[in-house]
C-alpha cells in the first residue's frame, strides 16, 4: 500500500518576474492552505514568509521569468541545491506575457521608448539589476516538471505537487483545452467563425473561459501537441490576418511559439 516517508520533504517556493499570482494562488487554496503548510516542510516561501536561508530543498517550486543577471545567478543557485525543480505558472514555463522574443537591439529600443534616451532604468529602480528580455527558466536550467497557468489552478497544481512531496512521479499527459471543453459539453467557437486558442493551449483550467462563453486566449501556455500552421490557417479562415494570428499565439505561448514558428 502507498505510504510516504516519515520525514517531510523540504520545499521552497521561489519567485522571479511575474505578477506573483501563482504564489498567491497557493495561499488562496483556502480549504487546502493549512494542509499545504503541514504536509511538507516549507522552508522558503517568498510571498508568505520573511526571508530564510536554505542550504538545500527536495522540491523547488519556481515562479516567474528571468530578466536580470542577478535573477539568473539566483536561479542557478536554486537549481544547484534542489532535488526537483518545478516551473510554476506560464511565466516560468514559457516566459509569460512579458516574453516578447526580442533581440538585444529591439529590447534596447523599447527601453529607450519607456525610460528615455539612455535606455537605462533609473537608479532607484535598480534593486534587482538592469533588465534584459524576459525568458522562461527552462532557457537556463533543467526543469523537471512544468505546471503552467496564469495563474495555476488548484486542480492542476495539487495532484502534481502532492505526488512530488510523496516521492512519486506525476503523470505527464499533455492535453489541449479542447479536451476539457468537451468534458464540459461545450459547443466550439471555431465552428461558428469565432476566435479560440483552445487547440494550442495546455489543459488544466477546466476550460474555464469557453464554459463561460468566452474564447480561450491561451493563458495556460502551449500544448505539446499544438499544430501551429493548421491553427494559423484556421484563424485566417475566421478572418484574422496572419500577423494578428501570430501575435495572439505569442501572447502566452512565449518561447515555445517562437521556436515552433521558426521551425525548431
Amino acid at each position: 500500500m502507498w505510504k510516504r516517508d516519515e520525514k517531510k520533504p523540504v520545499v521552497g517556493i521561489f519567485g522571479f518576474s511575474g505578477c506573483a499570482g501563482d504564489q498567491l494562488a497557493i495561499l488562496h487554496m483556502e480549504d487546502s492552505t493549512v494542509d499545504f503548510f503541514t504536509s511538507a516542510d516549507i522552508k522558503f516561501f517568498h510571498m508568505a514568509q520573511s526571508h530564510q536561508e536554505v542550504p538545500e530543498v527536495d522540491v523547488a517550486v519556481i515562479e516567474g521569468s528571468i530578466n536580470t543577471e542577478r535573477q539568473l545567478k539566483e536561479l542557478k543557485e536554486i537549481r544547484e541545491m534542489a532535488g526537483v525543480v518545478v516551473a510554476l505558472g506560464t511565466c516560468a514555463c514559457y516566459g509569460g506575457i512579458q516574453y516578447l522574443g526580442d533581440d538585444e537591439e529591439t529590447f534596447k529600443e523599447r527601453m529607450k521608448y519607456v525610460y528615455g534616451k539612455s535606455g537605462e532604468t533609473p537608479e532607484f529602480l535598480d534593486l534587482v539589476g538592469q533588465p534584459k528580455p524576459a525568458q522562461p527558466i527552462s532557457d537556463f536550467i533543467d526543469v523537471d516538471i512544468m505546471i503552467p497557468g496564469c495563474p495555476v489552478s488548484e486542480e492542476n497544481f495539487v495532484p502534481i505537487y502532492t505526488k512530488l512531496i510523496s516521492g512519486l512521479l506525476p503523470q505527464k499527459y499533455p492535453m489541449p483545452v479542447c479536451v476539457e471543453c468537451k468534458y464540459e459539453g461545450n459547443d466550439c467557437f471555431l465552428l461558428h467563425g469565432k476566435f479560440c486558442l483552445g487547440p494550442v493551449t495546455a489543459a488544466g483550467c477546466n476550460a474555464t473561459c469557453p464554459s463561460l462563453d468566452i474564447s480561450c486566449v491561451g493563458c495556460f501556455g502551449t500544448y505539446e501537441g499544438a499544430n501551429y500552421p493548421s491553427m494559423i490557417d484556421k484563424l485566417k479562415e475566421i478572418g484574422l490576418s496572419e500577423e494578428d494570428a501570430i501575435r495572439k499565439l505569442k501572447m502566452f505561448g512565449g518561447n515555445k511559439v517562437e521556436q515552433a514558428l521558426k521551425g525548431d
Partner: protein
Amino acid sequence: MKTYKMPKNVFPDFIELIKTKGKLFGPVKQKSKYSFEEIKNLQELDFDYQRTIMGVKKFLTPPKYKTLTFDKEGTKDIIDEPETNIVIGVHPCDIHAVKILDRLFLGNIKDPYYASKRENLIIIGHSCLPDDKCLCQSTGTDMVEDGFDLFLTELADNYLVWVGSDKGLSLTIAAGELLTEEISDEDIQEYVRWQQKRSSMFKTVMPSFKYMADIITLNYDSEAWEQFGEKCLSCGTCSLVCPTCNCFNVDDKILMNAEGGFRERMLDSCTLPYYSMVAGDHDFRPDRTTRLKLYYTHKLKEYIGRWGQPGCVGCGRCVTYCPVDINVITVSEALFGEVCETKEVCE
C-alpha cells in the same frame, strides 16, 4: 416485443409517471447545441433535434469520475449508489452506440463501474429525421430492434411505443391507461409511410461504407493520411464527442494533506500526443498522421473484423464538431476517391 399506442395529449402524464421512476434526462436546446440534461419541466424537452454534443456515454463512461478513494487504512471502491437515471429521446444511432459500449465493458471482463451505471440506466428511444451529417443508413444503424427499454415513434397524433426490455414492460404496465394495444390499420399505414419518408431523406449515402474495411486495407499507405495529419489539431474533439469512443486514462491523485487521495478516470483520445506511449518512453505513434490512421483503422476496419460491424454508428458528431473537417465522411471519401482515381475502378 410488445407495441402500444399512446395519444400525444397524454404525453405530459406519461412524463410525470416516468419521473416517479428515476431522474429524468432528455435533449435540451442550449444556444447553438443540444445536450442531454436533467428535465425539471416538460417545456425543456425538445425532441426536434439531430444530435446532442455527447451521446449516452456521458451517463455510462462520464468524462471524469472518481472510482476509488485511498488513505493509510486502505482503498475503497466508489461504485454508484443505485439511483436510476432515465434518458428519453435517444436516437437509433445512439442506442447502437450503447450496444457497442455494452459489448466492450460488459464482455468477458466486466467493468464494475460501467456495469452499475448501465444497470441503473433506462433508455427511452425516440424516432428522428436525418440531416446531411447523419450517415446511419450507410452504417446500418438507422433502425434498432433492441438495446432500449422503450422506443417512441412519433406519428401525427400518436406515439407508437415499442417495448424492448422487462424494465420497459414494467413502465408500460405502470402507464396503464395512457397506453392502448389497439393499433389500427391506419396507424400501421401511417407508420410505414413515415418510415418511407425518413428513408428517402438521407442526403449522405455512402455505398462504399460497406467495404470501407477492405478499402483501408488495400489502400493502407494512402497519401490521404498525410494530408489529414497535416491539418489535424490533435484536439481530441472527434473521439470525445463520438458515442462509441471509450478510451480512458486513470490517475491517482493525492490530496493536499498527503495522507489520502482518490483514483480518477477520464476520457482519453487516441489523437493526443502521448496516447501510444509505453514504459521506457517508447511512443508508437508520435505523429498526427499515424494517430489519425489508428482512429479510423480501428473504427472502420478492426471493429468489423471483430464484430462484423463498424465502430461508427453514423451519428454525425465528428462531422459536426471537428474544427478542420476531418471526419468519418471526409476520410472515407478521400480513401475511396483515391482508389477510384488511381486504380480506375469507378465511373
